[in-house]
């Protein structure tokens, strides 16, 4: 692509939004507009419609053992990195070529796995780049892994996606699963025509209002969502909100698969509003009060279940009508945020309710 072709395409596809830095390696000038695209001014402390939604393209999927791997691409993105409740705005660097994304799932149950993904990219000249992708959440992709990557130019690349074992607990059907690392190799062709011609949707007046767009339909990749309220097992105890996250609390009793010990089991299933996107990487604890006395206090165990996806759970001796349950969020979801999610799920208030 020569510069003139590029400029014409750039203008056509982005309507004045200048493509930029990502093309620095290809001989194009860096433009500040792309480095830090438009950001809604008055953003609510909640999930909101961003100014623009950048499209996503599929490079492909593959399987290794009983795991599925997907590799996707988009424009280099701005995102916010999160450590605790502290976020850092990450702007696109002048040599970033592509926003590379990956998802990993169990092919038997179509359960998305919250396992850190690293990528190593090489071409005929040898290794080009390697990085440990960030766990992320975006309006149209939901939970995924991604990072902005600098490539030396257009062309074909080999990529190895590597994961370690699942760090959370798992319920009985997953006993002994995801205990070892796995890697998968794929190829992709970086074509600026393809990546930089992905759709950019401007959301106009909606931008900055509460809400979000639908998740993209990715035929070959399971959606990173958790079950609806009615699909939760046991008895629904409460539907709470905290920093715009929906937090469903259910209790299972009798015979169940969630713990080895007898007794009721508390299930906490946080999710994004609107789309039910899973929210892994939280630290939650629970306090149980009865008649003014605290009778149980403890941490909720992050866990993975084929039906519930990512959830947090805790075994209880008993739970009675009138008991007060207080859920404290010690760490909000440690996921890098794309526009639209960077003001939500941060300073999360406790969720408290009385058992009816």
């Amino acid at each position: 692509m020569n510069r003139r072709t590029f400029l014409r395409q750039g203008a056509a596809l982005s309507g004045g939004l200048l493509l930029s830095g990502c093309l620095g390696q290809l001989g194009f000038e860096t433009q500040s507009a792309w480095r830090d695209p438009p950001l809604v001014e008055d953003r609510p402390d909640a999930v909101y419609y961003p100014a623009i939604i950048e499209g996503m393209g599929m490079y492909g999927t593959t399987t290794a053992g009983d795991l599925g791997f997907a590799l996707m691409h988009s424009f280099p993105h701005r995102f916010w990195n999160l450590t605790g409740s502290r976020k850092t705005k990450v702007v696109v660097q002048s040599d970033d070529s592509v926003h590379l994304m990956a998802s990993v799932w169990d092919t038997e149950t179509e359960t998305i796995l919250p396992v850190d993904v690293s990528v190593e990219i090489s071409n005929s000249d040898g290794r080009v780049s390697s990085t440990n992708l960030w766990p992320m959440i975006s309006p149209n992709m939901g939970f995924h892994y991604g990072d902005n990557i600098a490539l030396p130019g257009e062309g074909q690349y080999d990529v190895t996606l590597q994961i370690g074992p699942l760090q959370t607990a798992r319920t009985n059907p997953f006993d002994g699963r995801f205990t070892e690392g796995q890697s998968a190799t794929m190829q992709f062709t970086f074509d600026t025509d393809e990546t930089y011609n992905l759709e950019i949707r401007r959301l106009g007046d909606k931008a900055g209002t509460r809400g979000t767009v639908d998740l993209m339909d990715m035929e070959m990749v399971p959606e990173p969502v958790v079950p609806t309220k009615s699909e939760l097992p046991g008895r629904l105890l409460h539907e709470g909100q905290s920093s715009d996250a929906t937090i469903l609390v259910a209790l299972v009793d009798g015979d169940h698969r969630f713990s080895d010990s007898d007794g009721p089991f508390l299930i906490v299933s946080p999710r994004t509003p609107y789309n039910r996107v899973m929210l892994p990487r939280m630290a939650l604890s629970a306090t149980l009060d009865r008649g003014g006395d605290t009778i149980t206090q403890g941490t909720l165990q992050a866990s993975l279940d084929p039906d519930l996806g990512s959830f947090y759970g805790m075994g209880l001796d008993e739970l009675e009508t009138g008991d007060t349950v207080r859920l404290t969020v010690e760490t909000p979801p440690q996921l890098a945020r794309h526009d639209g999610y960077e003001t939500a799920f941060l300073d999360m208030d406790p969720v408290e309710f009385t058992v009816e």
């Binding site: 990195n81 990450v90 590597q162």
Partner: protein, 435 residues
């Protein structure tokens, strides 16, 4: 080498190490205006411990050892199949003594060790004595897939003077008839060994920033100008290092030796500098307490003799409450009953292959001590009970990828030339036991 004329002296010197060879050496001679004393004729006073470097290295104002700036690692394969013969041993020892006569044993002069891999020792019928813990290298985290270094031997050359490292290397290769005015023996290490790999690097205030241009993916102007390592912070604080005594093998024929683990870690400095802020870097390298309380100035020289980990909360607490644990905070958990760290770091940065990396060279009495330290650094126990990820917000694991690992035995000096697997008798007694 005429095209180097425009390069500032110091910048040239570090590049010269990476390039190597007689031409680089000659060019160094003209640029480094130093006069390195020659070594003694009689080397019998040299310590049995090859790794006894600390006594001859300079210290900073706080008493921390200043690591030698310029490094070369020569990975070598013994040319002969089967067991070594005495002629080869003589040749190796003679070549090593040649460079020791040429340069004094000091920070500005030459420091060196010769070490041998488990693969080397497989040629002997007898396995290594029980006093030596030297397993084959293995992956040390569930999320890494390193390649393993199995050459027979590694020679580690170190000096604050670039020409010393280069000159010693060239002499070992038989390319110098005189070195620093000292006649070199007609014995080359490379007659006995073939060169399998050559790794180079640097450590010291300002060197990473000066070397940043030699590597892809190092953000321009982000590596602090005074930092001794690419990641911007000082390491090797006195109280965070095991003593040479602590890492020395205490009994058996290899008493006085030590074990050495060398890994090659690729660094993602783009994420570190462009995607994290200073608070995050401090929290992840040290601990959240340090970041919250502005404990660290610049590269951290103000910390004195330790990374002040006692001020940090326990790892499980910060993991739950802050969502992050620091690298030093995790690693400090690997200590013995006397509260000593288990490993002695002698690591250095590199731009080998045009990528920013760290040759993490560590000495410890047993390889197990390294494995335990790395396990503490993995923080797997922390991730299971918190929102801290396998790598994300888990010390500096997000930014490093382990590419290679290798284990080696650094025998005592008397056994440094092609040692047998079961040497007869005990080596010289280790006199200053500390533990």
């Amino acid at each position: 080498m005429s095209d180097e004329r425009g390069i500032p002296r110091r910048e040239f010197l570090k590049s010269a190490i990476a390039i190597g060879g007689t031409a680089a050496f000659s060019a160094c001679l003209g640029r480094e205006e130093v006069d390195v004393p020659t070594g003694p004729d009689d080397l019998s006073s040299y310590p049995q411990r090859q790794h006894a470097w600390n006594e001859v290295l300079p210290r900073d104002d706080h008493g921390n050892i200043i690591a030698p700036s310029h490094r070369v690692l020569l990975y070598l394969n013994y040319r002969r199949d089967g067991q070594p013969n005495e002629d080869d041993r003589d040749q190796v020892e003679t070549a090593l003594r040649g460079i020791e006569h040429a340069y004094e044993r000091s920070g500005d002069g030459l420091l060196l060790t010769v070490s041998y891999s488990p693969a080397y020792f497989y040629r002997f019928d007898d396995s290594l004595p029980d006093d030596v813990d030297l397993p084959d290298p293995e992956a040390l985290a569930p999320f890494e897939e390193p390649e393993f270094d199995t050459p027979d031997a590694v020679v580690h050359l170190a000096s604050n003077t670039a020409q010393v490292v280069l000159g010693a290397e060239e002499a070992l290769k038989g390319n110098k008839s005189t070195l620093n005015g000292v006649d070199q023996p007609d014995a080359a290490l490379t007659d006995v060994f073939s060169l399998a790999d050559r790794r180079t690097g640097f450590i010291g205030d300002g060197l990473p920033a000066e070397n940043a241009d030699d590597a892809e993916g190092v953000p321009a102007d982000k590596v602090p100008e005074d930092a001794p390592l690419f990641m911007g912070f000082k390491s090797g604080f006195k109280k965070n290092q095991a003593s040479e005594d602590r890492v020395t093998i205490q009994s058996g024929p290899f008493a006085g030796g030590t074990t050495q683990h060398i890994s090659k870690l690729q660094l993602n400095l783009n994420q570190w500098y462009n995607q994290d802020d200073r608070w995050q870097r401090e929290a992840k390298m040290f601990c959240p307490y340090h970041a919250e309380n502005d404990v660290i100035e610049g590269a951290g020289d103000n910390l004195g003799t330790s990374s002040k980990i006692d001020d940090c909360q326990p790892t499980d607490e910060t993991a739950r409450e802050m969502g992050v644990v620091g690298h030093s905070q995790k690693s400090a958990r690997a200590r013995d009953d006397d509260d000593s760290p288990l490993i002695l770091r002698r690591d250095f940065d590199s731009t080998d292959g045009g990528a920013a990396s760290l040759h993490f060279l560590a000495l410890q009495r047993r390889i197990t001590d390294f494995v335990d330290t790395r396990e503490a650094m993995n923080g797997t126990d922390v991730t299971e009970q918190s929102a801290v990820g396998q790598r994300n917000n888990n010390g500096i694991l997000q930014y490093i990828r382990t590419e290679r690992r290798g284990n080696f035995l650094v025998p005592p000096r008397s056994l440094r030339a092609l040692p047998p697997g079961q040497p007869a008798g005990d080596a010289q007694e280790v006199t200053h036991e500390s533990s």
